[in-house]
Subunit: 324 residues, 3 copies
Amino acid sequence: MMDQFDAQGRLRHLITLEGLTRNQMLSLLDRAETFLRGPGELPAASLALQGRSVANLFFEPSTRTRASFELAAKRLGAHVLSLDISTSSRAKGESLLDTIYTLEAMQCDIFVVRDAQSGVPDYIAEHVEDHVHVLNAGESHVSHPTQGLLDVMTMRRHKGDTAGLVVTIVGDIRHSRVARSAAQALGTLGVGELRLVAPASLLPMPDEFPGATIMSDADEGVADADVIMALRIQKERMAETDVPNREEYFHRFGLDARRLARARADAIVMHPGPMNRSVEIAPDVADGQQSVIREQVTNGVAVRMAVMEAVSASPAEDPRLLTE
Amino acid sequence: MMDQFDAQGRLRHLITLEGLTRNQMLSLLDRAETFLRGPGELPAASLALQGRSVANLFFEPSTRTRASFELAAKRLGAHVLSLDISTSSRAKGESLLDTIYTLEAMQCDIFVVRDAQSGVPDYIAEHVEDHVHVLNAGESHVSHPTQGLLDVMTMRRHKGDTAGLVVTIVGDIRHSRVARSAAQALGTLGVGELRLVAPASLLPMPDEFPGATIMSDADEGVADADVIMALRIQKERMAETDVPNREEYFHRFGLDARRLARARADAIVMHPGPMNRSVEIAPDVADGQQSVIREQVTNGVAVRMAVMEAVSASPAEDPRLLTE
Amino acid sequence: MMDQFDAQGRLRHLITLEGLTRNQMLSLLDRAETFLRGPGELPAASLALQGRSVANLFFEPSTRTRASFELAAKRLGAHVLSLDISTSSRAKGESLLDTIYTLEAMQCDIFVVRDAQSGVPDYIAEHVEDHVHVLNAGESHVSHPTQGLLDVMTMRRHKGDTAGLVVTIVGDIRHSRVARSAAQALGTLGVGELRLVAPASLLPMPDEFPGATIMSDADEGVADADVIMALRIQKERMAETDVPNREEYFHRFGLDARRLARARADAIVMHPGPMNRSVEIAPDVADGQQSVIREQVTNGVAVRMAVMEAVSASPAEDPRLLTE
């Protein structure tokens, strides 16, 4: 595992939320807050990356995460190079590392990487030059650190300190990088109880989520929760479960108004998107008063701006992220 | 039908040219004129959209219209996010509205939408927040308002007031959003006579083009015309007509030098592109002295700049588009 | 053949290196040197193309060359329009010239063109308006002028004057635009000996490379060389040779440490990329002390910036490229 901090303990890459201190995490979240603006206002902008080039390397298709990183980079003044490279073309063409070395030689110094295979962002980070930064934009089922940050940012904005909260994540926990990164963030910032609810075959391996409560009954899972996060369930995954179809999944695990009523009255509803409406979440809940799903998207751009600014800041310019 | 004006009567979206007053239309055309530059000069630029983000949503493939909107937005200082979303992937992925809500949450505040289905730009406009603007970049056979504006802009630059002109449109009128938007623009600005010429099965439904002269003989149609606009004919449409092949289409409806000679000596020749040379238009006419086809393209960027500036202007900054 | 110089002898297009004087070439190389920066420094930038629009027209897929031109244009302040147009869609859609005329009418004034067919950049250059510039980004097996420039730039930075050097190019010479452009550059700047090494069926036609030494034995070819450039060999080409497979190709023509040891001790190793490691070059040579392959990539951006600046400079502003 690549060390994502430099010799001075400063964040150099963001591959995983594991290993970030509470202060480093809070520093990123506080900085992200400064990038929020009201609807209709000009988006926040800065010149932190002016003249720099950011390469978006999405080896797995993505619209929303790519757009979020692209806007974040552009609003910091960077040039953005978007390369859509399917895994198959990677096989035919030059090696992954040669692609990276080539872009590095063109003076791209932030790589935003999404890959269906585990280990790829780390592998790239191990091979780039000292001044180059790798940001994990989604790695297999393993890690999605900016998603984890935007999720805790959203919780904090509504609930303040996360330390006393009951947070329930419902869905395909086993294959979810979103659940893993959220759990890591909450592990560092503190959480009252983290509940993971899934059909038996989609629960995580034992010890993957230390301290979490593993459950298979969604009604129990959401009872008195402060935060409920529904995860996208993919049809091909459903086949691996004892859930025969979408209707049955919705009945057993979907977040509808009836089930939501079991949570605290001020509970917030989250989803990383894209949503399968009427599968893991009812439309009236997705669009309801308690939903903060669109805020998550807004916070995502802010978090990505904060992360890109942090990794690219030189120590002289910005002492905020020094290790404690 | 969504009202495309705000409570103060200002243009908020541009979905259709229907309902624009003569003054509003002239105001856009006058503003577009100020964005024209000579060949080799720097393109016109402004900071009207500086820091704003424009999302190009093309659910139907397009090269030229997308490039035109992209350049218009960039020359006004905007960041442009281009999303190519085929209708099939729309079916598999999240709902159209969720895509829109996501981009809106990322603070994209102008959506440029092209769709093969009728009603989509309107549907999006009904659901976005107050500060967000929807521009129709081509909607089924129904509406293509910036094309209509660039067409009348081109006519006015050559002929002055359109009120006395004989304007002839030749081709697949039935399926043409270009013809519909041009007719709406001319309906508002005035026209001497609007003639629509097509094979019988490609003529519009009765009452679709009130006041227009419907004809099936191209020689008669172009006689003494001031403006002749040839439309692209698609092979699959030709099969629905009594025209057996391209040669026959060219013979009966194509604009060649012989047919053009029946129009006024100073008639101008237009085409919305992309052209099927030797099908609806002869190459020597497309490239000839009377052709203003490339000017249409140039005027298209200028019109799109004017429209984007108009919808995004705050009343304090720009009183030009107040309702009269 | 289009004249790529204007009436004053200034470079207007860059279609081929043929016809560039030594002084013109040196002027471009000297200018490119000023665009180099150390690793981690901000990339060089200028406002030479500010407000201008550059259209990337890649009718043949390319990642690295397109990225290089895109970054070069953006770092000069241009807006970049990237159009991926496969040859097949070109056949269905409008004519190539109509696409060009359309983009020209949108005030794109630099066209970067890659095409698998010979003659396309030249054909476009013949048809554009006076203020528009065409840059060849790779044309069939014929010409790749910015590659030729970056190759001699790389040689000069390591070896100074090329006039006394032994330069060996190994690989599919017959189909290589890279070899042709390098040979043209060296022909103008001077070279001690240019050796071309290939399997018999991949050697060039007689008289294609006047003055070059044609060889079929790679060990002899690299002996005492100052510069060795390995070319990518495509599997489909290998079938045309007497080389049965990749292992055999590597054995006979691949650049490994043993073979490299026959060259001068300070010889540099080049490759235009993308590399087939263990086919035309051994990984330890590609990444070794003598390899300048990544520098070639860096120099490529600098050369493209210099070329774009040169063609778009007005005489009043920049007298550097006046003919002598």
